[in-house]
């Protein structure tokens, strides 16, 4: 029996198709993957992300603890700031990728992938020994709703949420406290689509009311309800890794192109030995693009034009925005330079692909 989010009944009424994701029944799509994808790029889309895990880190040594437990320097965050971070194994593999929000001086919110909820929580608890902090899994208290796309601000602004500061002053990768129906919610300017947008943490009991409210506010802006199918193509276009595809215990951040997320200048942290640069000769993550309509898919072999095996595709799709196939893959570093012509074995026939810089898609401007 899968877990249902507090919005399951709302999705069912909206006609969602569901899929199992990390043990949750999540909306895969409401209408059409492509229509939902384009709506986020052009207008706005709303996602239920309540399966994501929330872990609260509180206490006088919260910042020092996170500097030790995670890959980068979270003590450098100011209150209200967010940062992408990694939970590394002792060997430097990736146990999870996370967003860390500093809510107060000694109060952080860590958002982990649903599939890694317990791994992340247990690792953080274990690493907290000796620190004056409390690590609490608060996932069952919060629902998470994302509104993404160029119209997101107007929609959140027109909803019944009240933010402590004007929404247009909330910068990218910032979080602010707000209220909804007299309860505390958090409004973060973060996302996983490559568009501007917001993620709203709301007490679970209020999630259906907030969803309805945002849906009503979004109507005049052409906002659509979005499932996980388009979330995947959106993040792929934006070159964002997905845990279990581009990230896992067997690859270091440096191999995944995430060396910038590891601060090796820190004195001590779990996974420090992995280093910021990939070891000589290990596969590295690259972007691939092709012509035509056939997409490389996760697990397909990457080969040289002569057919020699040099890597594996981790994610791929026909890009709805760009109109050509895009993919990410781990390949032999000798073939990883942008512009290199290689190929992917697509069910027995070789598809010529070109190594391409990531991301494939960037929105035109980031409004401050």
């Amino acid at each position: 029996m899968n877990t249902q989010t507090p919005l399951y009944a709302v999705h069912e009424r909206a006609g969602a198709s569901f899929t199992d994701f990390a043990g949750y029944d999540m909306p895969l799509r409401y209408s059409s993957d492509l229509a939902e994808h384009h709506a986020v790029r052009e207008r706005a889309g709303m996602f239920d992300l309540s399966h994501m895990a929330e872990i609260a880190i509180t206490g006088p040594e919260a910042a020092a603890f996170l500097d030790f437990a995670l890959s980068n320097r979270l003590s450098a965050l100011s209150v209200g700031q967010a940062k992408y971070s990694l939970l590394l194994s002792d060997q430097g593999g990736v146990l999870d990728d996370l967003i860390v929000y500093r809510l107060e001086d000694s109060d952080f919110l860590v958002v982990a992938n649903a599939a890694n909820r317990h791994v992340a929580f247990e690792a953080l608890v274990k690493r907290s020994a000796g620190f004056a902090v409390e690590v609490a899994d608060t996932s069952d208290e919060w629902a998470l709703i994302a509104v993404q796309g160029p119209k997101a601000r107007a929609i959140v602004d027109a909803s019944g949420t009240l933010c402590e500061s004007p929404l247009d002053e909330l910068g990218y990768y910032r979080i602010a406290v707000g209220t909804f129906h007299s309860e505390t919610l958090y409004i973060a300017r973060t996302g996983y689509t490559g568009e501007d947008g917001y993620e709203l943490f709301v007490p679970q009991a209020l999630a259906p009311a907030l969803w309805d409210d945002l849906e009503a506010a979004g109507a005049e802006h052409g906002m659509v309800l979005c499932g996980l199918a388009c979330r995947d193509t959106l993040r792929l276009e934006a070159g964002m890794p997905l845990y279990g595809h581009e990230l896992d215990r067997d690859h270091t951040p440096a191999q995944a192109g995430l060396g910038r997320v590891v601060d090796s200048s820190k004195e001590d942290f779990v996974g420090k030995d992995a280093g910021a640069h990939p070891e000589e000769g290990v596969p590295v993550l690259v972007g691939l693009q092709a012509e035509g309509k056939r997409a490389p898919r996760a697990g397909y072999a990457v080969v040289t034009p002569e057919g020699e095996h040099i890597g594996t595709v981790t994610s791929g799709a026909l890009s709805p925005t760009l109109g050509y196939p895009i993919a990410m893959a781990y390949v032999d570093p000798a073939h990883a330079a942008p512009g290199t012509e290689i190929a992917v074995d697509v069910r027995g026939s070789l598809l010529r692909v070109t190594v391409s810089a990531l991301p494939f898609y960037s929105r035109k401007k980031v409004t401050p």
Binding site: S32, D33, A229, D232, R294, L318
Partner: protein, 124 residues
């Protein structure tokens, strides 16, 4: 709710077959099209190809995944629907009509599922 027209034959691979004399018109069911999501690419056999029953003869690809087309009958390809190659979304919008995939001349037919059996298979 996936439509399952009464007059068609079905396979457990979620294909439909319309029989007219010794010609079978073949497509994928609405259930299959819905499960795939937006179809963005269709690969079909060439006219004149000889198909072995059950062999993979084409692909229907969506943004999300790939569905293979298995020949529901053995025979010779008379026609491949260029309309769905040019406009793959026709498979979603009209799976039993303009979204047909190919016409095959066959010598004998296997046992198909009827509409009731197919409805039972997909649980509608």
């Amino acid at each position: 709710m996936s439509a399952v027209p009464e007059h068609l034959h079905y396979t457990s691979e979620h294909e439909w077959v319309a029989i007219d004399g010794d010609v079978a018109t073949i497509g994928i069911t609405q259930y299959a099209a819905d499960a795939l999501g937006d179809v963005v690419f269709v690969a079909l056999p060439n006219v004149g190809d000889a198909l072995a029953h059950g062999s993979i003869v084409g692909e229907v690809e969506s943004t999300k995944s790939v569905g293979e087309i298995f020949a529901p009958v053995a025979g010779e390809v008379l026609e491949a629907n260029a309309g769905v190659v040019d406009a793959p979304d026709t498979v979603n919008s009209d799976p039993y009509g303009a979204g047909w995939l190919m016409k095959v001349r066959f010598s004998e037919t296997p046992d198909f599922l009827d509409a009731a059996a197919y409805r039972a298979l997909i649980g509608v």
